[in-house]
Structure formats: structure tokens, C-alpha cells
Amino acid sequence: MSKKGITAALILFLYSTLPVFAGPSNGTFELKEYGFGSGGTEASSNSDYSVNGIVGEINGANASNATYTVGSGLIFTMMANVPPAPTFTNPGNSYDRLLIILNDGGNPTDAQFAIAISTDNFVTTRYVQNDNTIGAVLGAEDWQSYANWGSGTGEFVTGLNPSTEYKIKVKARQGNYTESGWGPESTATTDVASLTFSVSSKTVTFANLNSGNSYTDTSQSTVLTTSTNAYNGYIVYGRTTNALASGANTIPHYGSPNSAPTTWTGTGFGYTSNDSSLAGGTANRFTSSGPKYAGFTNSAPGDPVADNPGPLTSSISNEAFTLSYQVTADAATRAGTYQTTIIYVIVPTF
């Protein structure tokens, strides 16, 4: 074979083998060169920009099981840790609020957290706002630090419906492109607002009033007992239907009003309360240098005789206040059986 022939054969051979060295391609693009390198290993930044590096890349598909997921790429590496399930409870048996204690998931202190809440398994998702009410939109201000969400003591989410199951889940971020996925859910249920009220006796029977007891009896009392989870507490008003009466004869109400009770002097039918923080005037007006007495009113709803103004973060159980009565009749009071009806009205406050 001549030299020319050998050269032509070589060119033909090389031309025919060229596709063997081409990279992966489709009809439009061809990857000319590819390989696995060490990649960047450092991040560098100034006040405006930053460049992050990563060693290699993992498989494009996520590896996951029921508990963990490993994502791919630089973004996933930069993501905040997914917060574990928060503690979500109803410690006060409340009907309109539940306590959330976040788990920061090992995120740094400048990480921010957002909380989603739902009553229908997240078919409808709402968000806990930065004022701890619920809103439809997750605003930038609703991302708060672990400290702002109350740290280890948590915060109450308010404005909830009674007797309703709520689910919450939390996500975290620490700067741009770091938002994690939602963490696992926690569930808690609000209670129904309830009120239990009792009086210790249906009747009050005073001793016979005579010169032997100076026409006075102070032995009678009524205990008012209340249990409730009403956030703003309750108030009990007391009144009578009339003065102590026996036919046309009466023993009048004691002269001092509920707003300014006094140490007992003179005659009449009155009461004192052991509630030292009572609404309707100076809080300890019945107990300070007491007991101080006031006369009942016959007007509805009556005067405050016991209360708990709240706010209640845990329900109160069997809170008891004692109303002690005193009756002192005038020596000239006509003999007879004197009666009245004492009415105690309890209402939850709001």
C-alpha cells in the first residue's frame, strides 16, 4: 500500500471512530465533558454576597423513610433542621386557647420558626400569627425566633373554638434559601367552657333572739363554691327579695352598703364576705380590719359578694368563699318568725 493509501485509510478509521468519544447527547445538546471532581470546599463572603461550596453531589433522588429524608444539592445542605413535633397541650382545660412549646430541633438561636394550624387535617391550613391569634396568611412577621415563641415555657395560641381538635406543625429557616419542610404534627383539643356553682345550705336558721344573746346571732353562714375554666373568671352577686319580715314587721337591712362596709354597730341584718379581692370597690373592704358588714340590697342582680376576675390560665376547682351573716334585733322588735330569701347569682365574666 502506498503512503497515500495508508494516510487515507487512517483518516477513514479516525473518522469512523469519532462518535465513540462523544459525550451523552440528545438531538439538541451534547455533554462534551463530565466527571466527578472535588468541587469547592469553602464558603467565601463579603457583606453583600456569599459563595458556598459543596463537596460532590449525592444522587438526585431523595432517600427517605417514615422518619427521615435526605435531600440532594446545596440548597438541602443549607436548610434549617426540620423542627421535631412541638408540645401541644391544654394545661388549663381551656375552651379558647392551647399551649404550644416548640422544639428548636438543634437550630441556632437566630433561626426562625413558623407554625401552621388546622382543624381538618391540613385540608385548610392557617397560621399562628405573631400575636398568637390565627390568621389565613403567613406573613414575614409571623416567623419568630425560638425565644419569641416563648422558649421552653411556650405560648398560648388564642381565639380557638371550644371542643375542637387542632393540629399544628412547625417549620424553620435561618436566612434565605434555608426554609425547611414542615415537621411532624402534634394534636390538642380545646374543652367546653363550664361552670359549677354550689351553696352550702338551702336555708339559714338563726337562733331565737332574746335578751340572753343580746338579740344577736352571728353563727350562720353560707359557703359559695365555684369551679370553672372561664378565662375571665366569674362574679357572684347577692341580694334578698325583702328585708327579714314577719308579716308587716321587719328587721331592716344593716345600714352600710356593699361599697363601704363597716364594723358592726347597731341593729339590722347584714353579711360579710371573706373575699379579700372583691370587685365593686376597695378590694379588701370586707376583710381589712374586719370583719366589716354590709346590708343586702333587694334590687336585682344584687351586689358583688365573691369573685375571681381571672385571667385563668388553668381552671379553678372548688374555690370557696364564705358569706357570714349577722342579725341584731332591737329589743322592741315584735316576737315572730322573720324570713327572707337570699339569692346568689353567678355569671362568668368576659
Binding site: Y95, Q129, N130, D131, N132, T133, I134, G135, A136, V137, G139, D142, T158, G159, P162, V192, A193, S194, L195, T196, F197, S198, V199, S200, S201, K202, T203, V204, T205, F206, T222, V223, L224, T225, S227, T228, A230, Y231, N232, I235, Y237, S299, A300, P301, G310, P311, T337, Y338, Q339, T340, T341, I342, I343, Y344, V345, I346, V347, P348, T349, F350
Partner: protein, 304 residues
Amino acid sequence: MKKTYQYIVLLALLFIPIHTYAQPPALQSQIKVSPALFNISLSPGKTYTYILTVENLQNQPVPLRAVLDSLATDDDGEFDFLKNRPSPLVEWTTISPSDLLIPAQGKQEVTITVKIPSRVPFGGYYAFLFLDPVLTENQSASRVAARIGIPLLANIGVIDNANKRTQIETFEFTKNIFENSTITTKMSITNASLHHYSVKPVLFIKPLFGKEIELPYEEKILFPGKGRRWEVQHTVQGLIPGFYNATMRVSTGNGNQITSDNSFLILPYKQVLLAGVILSLMVFIIVKRNRLVKAIKILLKTDN
């Protein structure tokens, strides 16, 4: 011998411990209601049904009567029973049954039906459902009756958050300069809208340098056209003498907030004044020490 033995046995019987229990006062009436408050949203032309459960926790049956009454509030949003204006909500509401006989340790459900007319002005409507005891005649003693009031708070029409016309009327400190970290605030909020809703104030105190302190206030319901007041005394840990900016943020629900700003100074001026006097005295003594020494010497000589 036999008799002695019998005596010993009888004597031993005396030492067998007999347990006695202090009995709590027997409650004569103990009623539980749930829910204790109805906070409901209604629409014109619709009928709503609610269930009130009444439970008798005592060992004897209790007769009760359920009655409806108006619920009015004063300008500060507190109950005003004397303002007994007829409430349309009372007319629209029926109770079944209204006469109850609840067995011992038993419960009974009361159905509350609210039928709203098709044409009715939007706004808040309020009523009380009272459970009254049915009293029996007793000629020998005065009677004690317990009555339970259950508020029915109804909003008719959708509350538009943008139209919640809430205003912080006043937000002030009782003093401009506090001597120590016990500070007192006064605040009033008004609701110029047609509906009632809950407001939750939180006071934020920020020193010139340092961390912000958050102080939550009691949450209250604001009734339409009414106001509520708060007067709160705080003893705040970590407040040192200095200038503080204060912001009152009032949440009106759904993340909506209104704010009002103020400031105060913590200056223990009595202590500062005392320290100033002592310091001035010390400076005076140091500066005039020669003259003072001379004066003392003269005084001592005069005494001799």
C-alpha cells in the same frame, strides 16, 4: 379468774381504734353547666340550635327553671343589669324544656333555638339564660337560692377585620418618672364597630440598650360602641434606672394589631439626691479642709 378475764377483754375493747372522718359541709345545691358561655356567629334568615347541658352533682333531684333575660353592658363593657332594655335576641330565642327536674347525679340537655328574622340589622345581640331554682315554701327559715347566668353573645353578619374600628383611647403611665421598677399603666380601648370581639393587649418595654420586655395583659371582649379599661401595676424584673420606650400592641384577632407608644424614666431620685448631698459634703470637706482644721483648733482652744 373467769370474771377478771372478762373484764380484761372488755377493757381491751375500749382500746380498739374507731375511725372518725371530718365531714365537709354538705352542699345543698351543686349545678354544673356547659358551655358556660355561648359566643356565636349568626346569619339573618337562619335558625340555629345549641345544646346546654345541666348537671346535678348532688344526691337529690333539683327542679330548675330556664328563663331568658336581656344582657346590657355599661360604657366600660361591664354587666349592667339595671339597664334592662329588651333584647331582640330574647325574642328570637326559645328554650326547650324550660322547666327541668334533674335527677340526683343526673344531667339534662336544654335545647336553645335561635331563629333570626330574614331582615335584621347586622351587629351584636346579647342575652342571658338564667337557671333559677324552684323554691319550696319553708315557713321556719330564710331561704338561700343559687342562680346561674349563661351569657349568649351573638354577632350577626360577618365581622370584617378591616372594619374593626378599634382605638386605643388612652395609654399612659401614672407617672413620668418612677423611683423603682414598679410601674403602673392605664389604658382604655374603644370599639366603634357593630360587633363584639376579643382584644389582647401586650406591653413591650424597650430600654435604650438591652433586651425588650414583653408584658401580656388580660384579654377582654369589646362590645360594640363600648370601651374597656385596664389599670395594671407591674413589678418588672431587670428594670434598671434609665429611659424606656413603651409600646402597647393590641391584638384584635387574625393577626391584626393596633399600637400606641409612650415612654417613662426610672430614676431613684431620693437616693440620687442623698448621694448628691453626701458627695457635696465630701467635696466641701476636702476643699475647705485647711479652714476647717483651723476652725476646729480655734474651737478647741476656746473650750480650754
